[in-house]
Symmetry: C2
Subunit: 597 residues, 2 copies
């Protein structure tokens, strides 16, 4: 996927990535693999039982998480995608995402810690003052401190404009200009407390006293768990910053990641520092959230990948029944991978996870291309990313859930027991359609904002990208029909989009967006079909040009067949979605009388 | 549903049910409700933590389960649907199922205990000798003993012909004619051990020494946990029957129901008694399994119903954001039930649970009608039941899972925490597509056996039933288009079925059945559309004929709108299924080279 489908080595032609080559990329992947197998996979099941504990106001986590964090940071992986001036290696995000995929596949409860640190560092570099960058970024990238996104409040989850955490400008005697006293509670704060590092850097959305209501009144603050004397290079802690851990949420899964209920300033002694300009907090946070959204899509995908391989292995080893053309009870049982319905569940998983991974890596590659491009190209890659991020997040999350459930089903009754990891994976993956904006919220963002914005410019860029692949695939006899099929889907998407935008023009936003989630499902199917056709075209070209080994040929053949499976089984689902989305009958918009009972 | 849609009172015109009327039916439902609220609902969450324990070879369960079992049996509910001669009340199964729905909705971990006792009693009455009936049935129906279905073995789950538990005829000195020494292990035995009753009656599938291989060699035995002096009316226990509890499985959910790994005859001292004729074990067991299959569909449905009501209540109480036509941040937040996407998730749940419940109760009514009919009618109802049982089981299970997941999603992040019951319901419902034959197995039974059998006779009866409803609905202006829609779906089902049966005729069973699970999904959609149209026609007739109160009118209106939702959102999914099922491209049947990797 990295070298043949995405051609990541082409990135190294640009000066920014010029220090890299296949060797350095492979080393990154090998490092990730080594960390995954040593510090993560062996503890996956154990960490579901031995959960983080809150004792005397302090959370302790499993030792394996300490080991993981140390290994990941010390190996240089955490800082790798950052600029050299921050101690990074200017590694393409595409390769870094692949490394994350490898570690997350081994254990999905740890990666969030490193991702939060890296996301926070990036946000600070983009928007904070040099002083704040100097104080915090090195600490985060070296692994000495971790970070959180402290966004959600009891009354403000999906509706972030209703945040009420307050920030009062410090009177005289404040230790730093731009410092505020923070007061309020935050809930569902992942990695919100732990004993891995000496400090935790909370990025807190809050409202400065007398700020306007709504989004324009929300600002972003950096709030350390512990205050420190900042006299670099030596930074010594000097006591707590009045950030209290109220409780750990008891979750269905992902139990090794503590989701915290935090209180800032219960003793009026919590100091925070304004990042950038007042009133721009949500805009800044969205940079981190966009990254995190791709991360959640990736998490859905790597959990589903773990489930796919576990169920594939089981299917290859488990004897049960005989093939349907041969019911002779005298013969020994066959392994269940020979049963068509089991194969269907395995193909479905493979189609989802390899399709979703390709789609996500494509998005990460747009991030890298945006970084090294200028002018129109930069804008085009940014547009593509803005358009596709909610889709890649949602496909990875929602179809990850579907995929893991199929994996569990392959194991029959055993899948429901903790003799195997499937039931845990099923519990873990379920959060992904909630993290970083629910599927409903992502769908509103897609249809309500990203598609219509700038006169559907991003959608046009997207169609160009898909058409390129359609053209590529058309050159191969065995792919022509699929190429035509995707072209047809693209045209249908256009028709349905136009239909919906015509409703928007009439001004009834509620009706326009009432089936946004179905539009999202439709869009996701087209995106993954695009990625499957791209994989198939890449593979077909290799098969026709070079002498491949028998093993490689089988691997490439498996890609072609899974592409076919995706089109014949999954892509067909667009029909019902188009019909519904073009159907004038409005059923879900609230009318005068409540009929839900 | 009972009185207006299914007209259960019409059953009381027949002598068998003549002792009943609306008052006695309501009393049954009230009794169930009282048991549910007293002994079940308050313990639902607690029972997820305080699980059954196996200590010194004996399982103990939570006291609430003891209370439930005693209340349910002592109220007469357990025996109610049985003949008067066995101490029953000849209650229609349709009403009994409604009572089960009520208790299961309150707590889904208990009902299996009573269902197993009742199912075992029914099996013994149908197939066992008078002597065995006398010894066991009263004990089961009075609630003194419980029962299990001891079917699955490590190597024999879906493939029951591979059972290896052995039964050796007793030599001289045996205490009862027809007694055997049983030896073997059984896994996943629900309610396989507990401390509620003094005895447990295991119905064990085993192979008599030298029996032929395959299904014809499998016989059914009654194997009590404890032996007893049988001198009715006094039955005294006289020691253990060598049935050992090896382990309790650790499950994702349904944790209050112990799933046991049992060993029979580890000391060669386990005695079992042959039920009916040797070699007919699977046929006998299928009577109980068919009942259990409807029970699993019902369980999927009552769990999903609990999730629907919990998420509905949350949606009515939870303020978040503003309606999309009004983004004024100055205004207070609206409750989330006003958001179209939340309403879509609630309508989807309502469409699934009330559609599935109607479908299941329809099946139970066929059971009652079969009981009181003779000749062709009896056969017709039996045919309908055989055809529809796997469908009702699978729809309730698979769509129950989908429905609960939508309920969880309505709650956002809270749904993933144990602050609410949604995450537990999601874990509990997941087993339903595995219990009593996986969805794959049910689908093979539907397409491979029930549809083609007797020259598609059952399918013809089914179409007659659906056509009756189509005719009914056609009389109402507002239902005409839906009536035509369902007629079209019925014709399409016919075309696709014919297409598949033509493949079967050519003899390639693997290809014929490769997409049986998709055919099952298709069939389920048509069945539930049929039931929704039936509900709508019933309701429309009432609305047009009588003066209904404002509240009732709203209730009836909610039925019409949910029917519309089902057609416009759910029924459309048949399109992709038809296309795939008529598609000649075979992708999942095992070919020469394995491409799944």
């Amino acid at each position: 996927m990295l070298y043949e489908v995405l051609d990541v080595l082409s990135l190294t032609k640009h000066p920014y990535f010029a220090a890299h080559d296949a060797e350095s990329f492979n080393m990154v992947l090998d490092t990730a693999d080594s960390i995954a197998e040593k510090t993560m996979r062996p503890f996956y099941k154990e960490n579901d039982r031995l959960q983080p504990e809150l004792i005397n106001g302090q959370v302790t986590v499993h030792p394996a998480l300490h080991d993981y964090y140390r290994s990941f940071c010390q190996s240089g992986l955490l800082a790798a995608p950052f600029d050299e001036k921050y101690g990074g290696q200017q590694l393409p995000k595409t390769v870094y995402a692949a490394a994350n995929f490898i570690v997350g596949n081994a254990h999905n409860g740890f990666e969030m810690f490193t991702n939060l640190a890296s996301g926070a560092a990036r946000l600070l570099i983009s928007f904070a003052s040099d002083e704040l960058i100097e104080k915090y970024v090195t600490k985060l990238l070296s692994g000495q401190w971790t970070a959180t996104m402290s966004i959600t409040e009891t009354q403000a989850g999906s509706s972030l404009s209703d945040i009420t955490t307050m920030a009062s400008p410090q009177a005289d005697g404040s230790d730093t200009p731009g410092s505020y006293r923070i007061k309020g509670q935050k809930i569902f704060i992942s990695a919100g407390d732990h004993d891995i590092t000496e400090n935790i850097v909370h990025l807190v959305l809050a409202r400065i006293e007398n700020a306007p209501k709504g989004i324009k009144g929300v600002s972003l603050f950096v709030v350390p768990k512990n205050r420190f004397h900042s006299s670099p290079p030596l930074v010594r802690l000097r006591g707590a910053n009045d950030v209290g851990s109220i409780a750990i949420y008891h979750k269905m899964g992902q139990r090794s990641t503590p989701a915290m209920h935090l209180e800032f300033g219960s003793n009026n002694d919590c100091i925070g520092y304004l990042i950038g300009q007042a009133g721009k907090g949500l805009a800044y946070m969205f940079q981190m959230m966009n990254n995190a959204r791709l991360g959640v899509g990736l998490a859905g995908t790597y959990i589903a990948t773990a489930a796919y391989y576990a169920s594939l292995q089981y299917a290859k080893e488990r004897p049960q029944g005989r093939r349907l053309n041969n019911k002779n009870a005298e013969e020994p049982q066959t392994t269940i991978i020979h049963h068509a319905d089991v194969r269907r569940m395995l193909f479905l998983q493979k189609a989802i996870v390899e399709g979703s991974l390709a789609f996500l890596l494509q998005c990460y590659k747009y991030t890298d291309l945006e970084k090294i491009s200028g002018g129109n190209d930069k804008q085009r890659y940014n547009d593509l990313l803005e358009l596709l991020t909610p889709v890649a997040k949602t496909y990875g999350a929602e179809m990850g859930i579907v995929s893991v459930n199929n994996g569990l089903q392959v194991l029959g009754g055993y899948g429901y027991t903790d003799d195997f990891i499937l039931e845990q994976l099923a519990r873990d993956v379920r959060i992904m359609s909630l993290y970083e904006g629910t599927t409903g919220i992502q769908s509103l963002a897609l249809l309500g904002r990203q598609v219509p914005m700038n006169n559907v410019r991003a959608l046009q860029y997207f169609k160009d990208e898909v058409n390129k692949v359609i053209e590529q695939a058309r050159q191969f006899n065995n792919l022509q029909s699929y190429s035509g099929w995707l072209l047809h889907e693209l045209l249908e998407l256009d028709i349905t989009t136009t239909h919906l935008l015509n409703i928007a023009v009439k001004g009834n936003t509620e009706v326009f967006l009432s089936d946004a989630t179905l539009y999202m499902e439709l869009f996701g199917l087209v995106c993954v079909a695009w990625q499957w056709l791209k994989q198939a075209a890449t593979v077909q070209k290799i098969l026709e040009k070079s002498n491949t080994s028998k093993d490689d040929e089988l691997f490439y053949q498996s890609k072609i067949e899974t592409m076919q499976f995706f089109f014949h089984y999954e892509l067909r689902k667009t029909k019902a979605l188009h019909e519904r989305l073009k159907d004038e009958k409005v059923l879900t918009v609230m009318k005068e009388n409540e009929v839900l009972m």
